[in-house]
Symmetry: C2
Subunit: 408 residues, 2 copies
């Protein structure tokens, strides 16, 4: 008998009818001879409504209290899903984050999992019960309610699967799996049977919306194999796991894109030690996440830095940079460019293949697309292009690597 | 510096504006130099909506899961009230039933308080914080969520006051205090400055809606003095406490009424041991609460039993009695009467005064009201009358004892 963890997001439990569908699917999984643990999010809309009330009472609601407030959403879902299971004759029991033994640390509203005590869940499983666990929440070691931030329910599912040593953890969502590219942009994109943790991480950090990086990191750390699949059908999804010799042998696993990027370039920086730290320091203090960072010495003997960020952070970045630039002397200048997008080609095969960048750049050139910045990691090549060209760019690169075809 | 516990019910926190009013009142109490602990219910309507969803998913939702579901209502209230306090500059913190250390036992949906561990609350109070505690909820010693049933938030307030040794516990509600009778029926009813626990208990169990008996019992057991007062104004309310020599010296403290009662009389019961137990046993098994119980031997040598119950239980009682009556022999007969009401006169002064019953019966007679059943305790005389006469009866008895006048 296999132990399966299934995670259902807020839209999967968004109405009482959908809650019944989730219960029916859990029942089916159980009837197939498995032990089942569901991890569920708050009903879609509930969290937003709670946040609306909080903001009406306080311009800047305390994060400790937001956690207390928002954790009720999942607590309601687990009770309702459990009731729907009972109505189908399934012996089920709801489990809050605290009861699941999810102990957390870090700031309120963005807790990190510290450790797990699954003894209560084990006891219920030994009694033959189906468990319905609240996603997104835990408690600090001294019993304060904590939420886990964006993607927190995925993290709960992975952590519960790790603690219970589940055979598999299924992340049931509104997409079928992980594709070679977003099928809305590249119609012949192919669903991947498998992808490695490292590739999934690079995809996540380069715009793929399927899962948050930290859930993938947690799975990699604890060796939890998980599957991204649809909550609407029974098609097999994409397994995310450590790379292994029998994985599809490809150079590039997929292409991801990220829109609404902006570039900041600072020129005329005196070529002295500590300059980069000063500039990036003020950006970090302003809580702006940088993505690509490029630095070089220009022909004029001054250094130049370029970095990209989400375009909504551009104004904040300019304000933060102003005093630093003024202090750098009269040659220093800031140039900004909005309206750009990033395209990333990701694949562990890149490590043992040369010419990958060349193939990619040629394809973009043939399509008449100008490349802005370039940045690479061991398993990723990322470029910026004009945002208006990003879809054409994705199709060109997808075609150039033949990603629509199943490798031999 | 006095420690004051204030309990606010669901209608007091029913909208965000009302939550702001509650916060303002807590702030004022704090500004008067007190340490303040609020106990709050779920926002009015929230609990009903959750129950509606539960019933849509399951005809008979499991009580364990109802507890998990309903406890979210108070958890939302405490976070929202705390946010409103923050917005007014008050250093406040929300406390769930579990964090308040309220440990419970008994059935789900009607938990009983087993013991309290107020150490977390004490720590926060020592840090100068205002606490906002979730009413109606606790946890079992093994961490299962428990609700305390009807009137549970009052019970929480009394228990928290006991555990923290609060100077006073204020039950803020939509009435001004405890009256000599319901002012909607007896316009010259007078608000009582004080009432003893025992009188309050008799009033509660004879129809006064102000508070549930078990909260009063808990307060009596732990010597918690509490005050019933309005959440809408600052008028002093009614203190409920152990009787003391300086209490207003009256024979009758108040008159309470209970409508929608029904009487069942069984005649022709063989006068043998065990008969009462058999009859009352089936009523108890059917979970029907009996109120007045009268038994007698009739002139025919057979015994007769009469008892009253809420009229909505009458059908259930008849069904439960059928097999027993059949087994009692051909003389046994059941008679039922709906449309009656109960009037109770309550007062500790009764213990040292004779003629109280006579005064009451004379007053009813003078008003042309027929008395049905009569039952007495040490501090109460209760009678049944036709439901159509109950308001006249209340006024007649209230007048006969001069309850509108403050005693000399």
């Amino acid at each position: 008998m296999a132990l399966i963890v299934q995670k259902y997001g807020g839209s999967s439990v968004g109405t009482l009818d959908r809650i019944r569908n989730v219960a029916a699917r859990l029942l089916r999984t159980r009837d197939e001879g498995n032990q089942v643990v569901a991890v569920v999010s708050a009903m879609a809309g509930v969290t937003d409504e709670l946040i609306r009330m909080a903001r009406e009472l306080s311009e800047n609601p305390a994060e400790r209290e937001l956690d207390v407030l928002l954790a009720t959403g999942e607590q309601q879902s687990i009770a309702l899903v459990t009731m729907a299971l009972h109505d189908m004759g399934v012996d089920a029991v709801s489990i809050t984050g605290r009861q699941a033994g999810i102990f957390t640390t870090g700031s309120h509203t963005r807790g990190r999992i510290l450790n797990m005590d699954p003894s209560l869940m084990r006891g219920f499983l030994n009694d033959g019960k189906t468990l319905v666990v609240a996603g997104f929440q835990g408690v600090t070691p001294n019993g304060m309610i904590h939420t886990l931030g964006r993607g927190g329910s995925d993290l709960t599912a992975i952590a519960v699967a790790a603690a219970l040593k589940a055979e598999v953890c299924q992340i049931l969502t509104d997409v079928d799996g992980v594709y070679t590219c977003d099928p809305r942009i590249v119609p012949n994109a192919r669903k991947l049977p498998e992808i490695s943790y490292d590739e999934m991480l690079e995809m996540a950090s380069s715009g793929s919306k399927v899962m948050q990086s930290r859930s993938v990191e947690f799975a990699k750390k604890f060796g939890v194999i998980f599957e991204v699949r649809s909550s609407l059908n029974d098609n097999p999804g994409t397994l995310v796991l450590e790379e292994h010799p029998n994985m599809e042998n490809v150079v590039i696993r997929g292409v991801s894109i990220e829109r609404s990027q902006a570039r900041v370039t600072i020129t005329g920086i005196p070529d002295e030690p500590g300059m980069s730290g000063r500039i990036l320091g003020v950006i970090g203090e302003a809580e702006i996440n940088l993505d690509m960072i490029i630095s070089n010495i220009a022909h004029d003997g001054f250094a130049r830095h370029s970095f990209t960020m989400h375009s909504s952070d551009l104004g904040k970045a300019q304000a933060a940079l102003k005093p630093v630039i003024a202090a750098l002397g009269s040659n220093a200048k800031v140039e900004t460019e909005g309206g750009i997008a990033k395209l990333s080609a990701v694949g562990i095969g890149m490590r043992s293949h040369s010419g990958v960048a060349a193939t990619m750049f040629k394809a973009l050139g043939a399509a008449g697309i100008n490349i802005g910045m370039i940045s690479t990691s061991e398993i990723k090549i990322a470029v910026t292009v004009d945002e208006t060209c990003i879809e054409d760019a994705a199709r060109a690169v997808h075609d150039a690597f033949g990603l629509d075809k199943r490798p031999a």
